[in-house]
């Protein structure tokens, strides 16, 4: 009972955090018809800075880290990415009014990872002073790529069966390459490489890290405005997408939280790391995912997956998911 109360109190407290405040404010001003816009060039640059910063920190950390410690969390990341897509394939994609390829694409997007949501999670952890292994955010691709690849494979197999073609051959390596070349993963891996092979400590401390929190607040504002705009699109498709958009992030986050907790008790994986795994799982890809899916599953209607992800899934993942995992962690790990 007390645990439930703690959880609720924790949730409320998070809502005063500026990160969430900016997100919600973005939705509100968009709903009120504000003509405020943040230039696209600024949005692209902020995303680049955040992902580069995540990569740099990860790379510098991995130099010092015990690679053995990373194996179980990385395996969990892969398993969660694949699991989310399979779960969606056999729930959402089977619902009435949901076209199979739309459902599969949506599950793929929710299995993949949003760098912005991850950055929000890191920001909140840092504001709380909760420790995490610096390399955890660098597990991003381990969850992201398998999810996108599996979704595209499942969709192609389904579609080629529909066409009566027996060969549902899919160019898996092509999809992986396509993912890695996308702007989000490129920036992350670029940072990772620079963190590993050069000594960027000074520029990291004086530039990338201090700008991180500030730019994150602007990004949250943009994502709030965008969420409101995409909600509109969602209205034209089956209601199940809205339901999925609300439920899936939390279910996915909790699954990852559970698996991460096992790693905590068996291997000493940090509570902060557990939270970040849950944040990644609960997030849905917003930068590289949509164009990858648009190109790879052309017959899937982008309004379904972009609407459910950007319009509903992302605000839920950030505004409800992250505070939930923080509150849960304070109950489970006593932090």
């Amino acid at each position: 009972m007390e645990a439930v109360f703690d959880l609720a109190a924790g949730l409320v407290k998070q809502f005063q955090k500026p990160t969430l405040g900016f997100l919600i404010a973005g939705m509100v001003i968009a709903a009120l018809g504000s003509r405020l816009t943040i230039p696209d060039a600024v949005y692209k640059f902020i995303v680049f800075m955040l992902l580069l910063r995540i990569g740099l920190a990860g790379g510098m950390e991995i130099r010092e880290a015990n690679l053995g410690d990373m194996i179980l969390p990385a395996a969990i990341a892969v398993a969660v990415g694949l699991g989310i897509v399979l779960l969606g394939r056999y729930t959402l994609a089977l619902l009435p009014g949901v076209r199979k390829e739309d459902g599969i694409a949506t599950a793929g997007l929710f299995g993949a990872v949003s760098g912005s949501t991850l950055a929000a999670g890191m920001g909140l952890l840092e504001a709380e002073g909760i420790f995490y292994e610096g390399w955890v955010p660098a597990l991003y691709p381990f969850m992201d790529i398998p999810a996108l690849v599996l979704a595209i494979v499942l969709a192609k197999v389904y579609l080629s069966k529909q066409d009566g073609q027996s060969n549902g051959k899919v160019d898996v390596w092509g999809i992986i390459k396509e993912s890695l070349q996308g702007s989000a993963l490129s920036a992350l891996l670029l940072g990772l490489a620079l963190g590993l092979f050069t000594r960027p400590e000074a520029v990291f401390e004086s530039f990338y890290d201090p700008l991180f929190k500030g730019l994150l607040s602007v990004l949250m504002l943009i994502m709030g405005m965008e969420a409101y705009a995409r909600l509109n699109e969602l209205r034209k498709v089956a209601h199940w997408y809205a339901v999925y958009g609300v439920v899936a992030p939390l279910v996915h986050g909790l699954i990852a939280f559970g698996l991460g907790t096992i790693a905590h008790f068996t291997m000493g994986f940090s509570p902060g790391g557990v939270i970040l795994l849950a944040v990644m799982a609960g997030s849905s890809s917003d930068i590289s995912g949509p164009p990858t899916l648009r190109a790879a599953i052309p017959s899937a209607n982008p309004s379904t997956y972009v609407g459910s992800s950007t319009g509903v899934g992302t605000p839920v993942a950030i505004a409800i998911g992250i505070p939930l995992y923080l509150a849960l962690a304070s109950v489970v790990f006593g932090i």
């Binding site: 816009t37 943040i38 230039p39 696209d40 600024v42 949005y43 692209k44 943009i222 994502m223 405005m225 965008e226 705009a229 995409r230 699109e233 034209k236 917003d286 930068i287 949509p290 164009p291 648009r294 190109a295 052309p298 017959s299 982008p302 309004s303 972009v306 950007t310």
Partner: protein, 113 residues
């Protein structure tokens, strides 16, 4: 001085730009011009220049000038049949008159500096 030519215009999603260019070049046309656009059609409103997590769905307008009318139609047909079942887009032809007509004959690749 001028010679008749056909301008093929395609307005579609940025995500298929490379595919459209490939069709144009495969049919033997060496030049094209691309402009950023936004617009609305039978699909959703699309944005352009706005901050958008789906900026990849921005519209573009591609123009290819071809001296040979049949090739122009072939480009238009190929693009429409390959893409427009799944992607938002329109394609149209317009009669124009070009100077230095030899530039728009397939295979030309000379040029000044």
């Amino acid at each position: 001085m001028t010679q008749p030519a056909t301008k093929v215009v395609i307005v579609t999603e940025e995500v298929i730009l490379n595919g459209v260019i490939k069709i144009i070049e495969d049919i033997g046309v060496r030049g094209y011009t691309v402009l950023s656009a936004r617009g609305k059609g039978s699909h959703n409103v699309r944005s352009g220049g706005q901050p958008s997590v789906t900026a990849a769905f921005t519209n573009i307008k591609i123009e290819a000038i071809v001296s040979d009318r049949a090739k122009a139609e072939q480009i238009a047909d190929t693009i429409a049949s390959k893409y427009f079942a799944n992607y938002a887009g329109i394609v149209y032809l317009s009669q124009i008159e070009v100077l230095r007509g030899e530039k728009f004959k397939p295979g030309f690749s000379g040029g000044g500096a």
